[in-house]
């Protein structure tokens, strides 16, 4: 146990260095996914017919296994971090787009009408009314995306040691040091849970108007009526 943090030098990083690398490889894709899904979701809200095909496309992309995705990208981006990050960003879309669409749609009609009556243009209404109301749903989606992203990075080990904390797993095998594998799993899980808790905190800060510990999920669902069946899996997963 005293060698728990005594990492082999081939990792090229200290334990904290690996954590930093892991967070970067996991969080940047989620951020990229969020930046892409905000406009995509807005388009889906504006043009309703767009939503089912977009959902179908993200679901199909989600069905591409991470390892398969990585190895196909190797041909274009080499055995680099980018190869790990692109699939993670794509996977985050499948959770984030429905979460944002659902959240933005959950703004009550009266609220929107009130905003319009106060002289809000569409842009200001989006940023100051719809987006804040969507925050709980968006954060719920971000939580799922972030946690899965953090745990998926480890697979990057298989494509030329791009797995950050996952690289410890290979070293655990080749140096016969099981404590390194324990270190990898425990640290990754702890990172994921901490990131999840941080996002809950973000939601609490961003939504001071929400009573603590409410059943917001219920409300969001009934307000949007029932989305298409295709929308459900991710949505349910996201809106827990």
């Amino acid at each position: 146990m005293n060698r728990f943090f005594d990492l082999p030098s081939d990792l090229q990083h200290s334990w904290f260095g690996l954590i930093g690398l892991h967070l970067r490889e996991a969080l940047l894709p989620v951020l990229a996914g969020l930046l892409v899904s905000l406009p995509v979701a807005q388009l889906c809200v504006r043009f309703r017919w767009l939503y089912p095909p977009v959902l179908g496309l993200t679901t199909v992309l989600y069905a591409i296994p991470s390892l398969a995705f990585f190895v196909v990208l190797i041909d274009y981006t080499g055995q680099t971090e980018l190869t790990v990050m692109i699939p993670l960003a794509v996977y985050s879309l499948v959770v984030l787009v429905p979460a944002i669409v659902d959240g933005v749609r959950s703004a009550p009609q009266e609220t929107l009408a009130a905003a319009t009556a106060m002289g809000f243009g569409p842009v200001r209404r989006y940023f100051q009314v719809q987006l804040p109301i969507a925050v709980p749903a968006i954060v719920a989606g971000l939580r799922v995306a972030t946690v899965s992203s953090i745990s998926l990075v480890s697979v990057g080990m298989l494509i030329g040691n791009q797995g950050a904390l996952g690289n410890l797993l290979n070293d655990a095998n080749i140096y016969h040091r099981p404590e390194l594998a324990v270190n990898s799993v425990v640290t990754t899980a702890a990172l994921a849970i901490l990131a999840d808790a941080a996002l809950v905190l973000v939601r609490l800060v961003l939504t001071p108007w929400m009573p603590r510990g409410t059943r917001r999920v219920r409300r969001a669902r009934t307000a949007t009526a029932r989305p298409e069946p295709a929308a459900q899996p991710v949505l349910e997963d996201a809106v827990r």
Binding site: S66, L67, D75, S151, G166, N173, A181, V185, D196, P229
Partner: protein, 222 residues
């Protein structure tokens, strides 16, 4: 178009179609692992989700379990299990089941919670027993959602079962891992294509199952 050339080369090579390392063998192994893992996960998560969803209690506990399950890295768990338990099927099944339980559990719970309460009340008023309410009223209405939870679990299992090859178990991951070590890119891409196709087939299968199993009335209302 580089990748497509590799795919074509892999599938047109007759040697890949039979024998111990042939596509049929590996495909069968992969499907077998996936089915076992899905069956175990469903056997654990479905009853718990149905009961907690029916009574509407324990949502927070379920959310916590789901987060914990998601937080555990599948690949790390796999390697750790091999170190702890040794070579075999157990180290493969543990991460796959841990991976599949959260979506099934959460979706089943949410599916039952989102059932319109009025038919449930009506059923209770008619004197239906709780278990009959669950299976005759709530389950049919919640079925599309429950199936979608199973679907995302199944897709994740099929995708993740590839990593089993890292610890010397068969399945389609064999091609990817071996190909990477042998620097045989054709094999890698061929394996990746097979897994992706299998995952898409799973998607289609669940889509078809939902068509058949969900009552037309529920589908129309959805």
């Amino acid at each position: 178009m580089n990748v497509l050339n590799f795919v074509n080369a892999f599938f047109s090579d007759g040697a890949h179609w039979h024998g111990y390392d042939g596509i049929p063998t590996r495909l069968a192994e992969h499907i077998q692992y996936s089915l076992i893992a899905l069956a175990i996960a469903a056997a654990v998560a479905l009853p718990v989700g149905l009961v907690t969803g029916h009574y509407g209690r324990g949502g927070n506990a379920l959310a916590f379990i789901a987060t914990a399950g998601r937080a555990l890295p599948s690949f790390g768990l796999l390697v750790l299990m091999v170190i702890l338990v040794g070579f075999g099927m157990v180290p493969v099944m543990v991460p796959l089941v841990v991976l599949a339980v959260p979506p099934i559990l959460v979706t089943t719970y949410e599916a039952l919670r989102s059932v319109d309460p009025s038919p449930v009340d009506a059923a209770r008023g008619m004197g239906m027993h709780e278990s009959r309410i669950l299976f005759r009223v709530e389950l049919p209405v919640a079925l599309p959602l429950i199936l979608s939870g199973l679907r995302s679990a199944a897709i994740q299992i099929v995708s993740t079962a590839t990593i089993a090859a890292y610890i010397g178990i068969g399945g389609l991951g064999r091609y990817i891992i071996d190909g990477l070590y042998q620097r045989d890119y054709e094999k890698v891409v061929g394996g990746a294509t097979l897994v992706a196709v299998l995952a898409l087939a799973t998607l289609g299968l669940f889509w078809g199952a939902a068509r058949v199993a969900v009552s037309p009335g529920v589908r129309r209302g959805a």
